[in-house]
Amino acid sequence: MNTLLVASEVKKTFIMHMRGGVELPVVANVSFSLKASSCAVLGGPSGVGKSSILKMLYGNYGTDSGQILVQHHGRHVDVASASPRMVLEIRRDTIGYVSQFLRAVPRVSALDVAAEPLLIRGVAQETAHERARELFAELNLPERLWSLPPATFSGGEQQRVNIARGFITDHPILLLDEPTASLDAANRAVVIDLIARKKAEGAALLGIFHDQDVRTAVADHVIDVSAFAAGKSAA
């Protein structure tokens, strides 16, 4: 099977200069790979560094050392050392991300928020909006909300806008940070179905799911993040 991402010996430490330079080790020796048509799940107790790993893969957090090789436009690029421009290109075309919380921009409608990843890839606005509407309908987001900015939406409504935004493209790699945390059972089932379809299309997914049912339904294998606990492997 085609390997789309390989993380090897990735290490991350926060240095808190506001607290006298105290070092906060997060993870070390993070090594795993993601294959096409599969969904891996990051497991382990909260605070163990699961979200930090997703953020490093997305280029949102820096790394101390190690490599994150991604198959991007047919070649291998290391996200950990890539230029900001390359990271943006990888996000546009290769790695999608559904964050836990939506960062709402004033005055921008839910429809535009969800359609944006297609628009920046040059898809026509009408096509992008149509695709966003389909996803909103599938996710049972009330139609009266579609043209409103999501700032005042409930947590579950914002999360569905975020999911639509993440699933709207055909990125080969998709990272999911607790996409079902504030959804009811019916909408969790929709997300499980969306994930299954992405897999069938050949995407490699990596997610964090606290909900046991969702995890059981989507996970092909579990990556135990406690094994990467910093300190454990400290030389």
Partner: protein
Amino acid sequence: MSHSDTLEALAAAGIPAPVKPLLSVEGLTRVYGKRIGCADVSFDLWPGEVLAIVGESGSGKTTLLNCISSRLTPTCGTVHYRMRDGASADIYKMAEAERRYLMRTDWGFVHQNSIDGLRMTVSAGANVGERLMAVGNRHYGNIRNTAIEWLSRVEIDEDRVDDQPRTFSGGMRQRLQIARNLVTEPRLVFMDEPTGGLDVSVQARLLDLLRGLVSDLGLAVIVVTHDLAVARLLSDRMIVMKEGRVIEAGLTDRVLDDPRAPYTQLLVSSILQV
């Protein structure tokens, strides 16, 4: 088509030729006597990219912006700009007339104080039309129509076209400045605290408008701001300055979510949450 097929197709089609930077800043330094304005600043800016320069008052960000935009001569260092014909030109080695033409056509400058960027005693339409005349437009009707079209793009009603900007609110004046700059379809726009001094609701409207115009027109922008929220909303990359030097640079969300330098951590941790 499956994802792996897409990847293979892209690889087979070959990787597109790399785009060259629009602007290359190299070792830019400006000193005022013994005091440093900005020191040894280097970066590249690509077409369509938005770069934010952040830092507190006195950090040298406006000095840097003025040195890059040829409004203030640097003590040393170079600024190369890729002209429309693809050739790279050192802006401080150009003839004065050529540089002025560049500033009037291919570059824009949005000032914090609209009084620095607008002519307060001529009409809004003339403010926009003036830059068109500078590039050789002479037909009054065309100029007026283009001006009206641009006023509507920045959400100023057509019936205000003959009013002087001194009768406009702060937010409207900033929008008029933007229209005046963008009418010649520049490729690079400099902005110095474009939302400074505006009410938050007015700020949000202006930022939303700027975001839309920047992406529709594929503008490259260098925006100076002390407001990290503005940097997050508008920019792809950012540079953090302190005492005239760059102390951290990178992808905007990386710098804001995982700040490394002590000063950047202080700035980020000083943001009030609402």
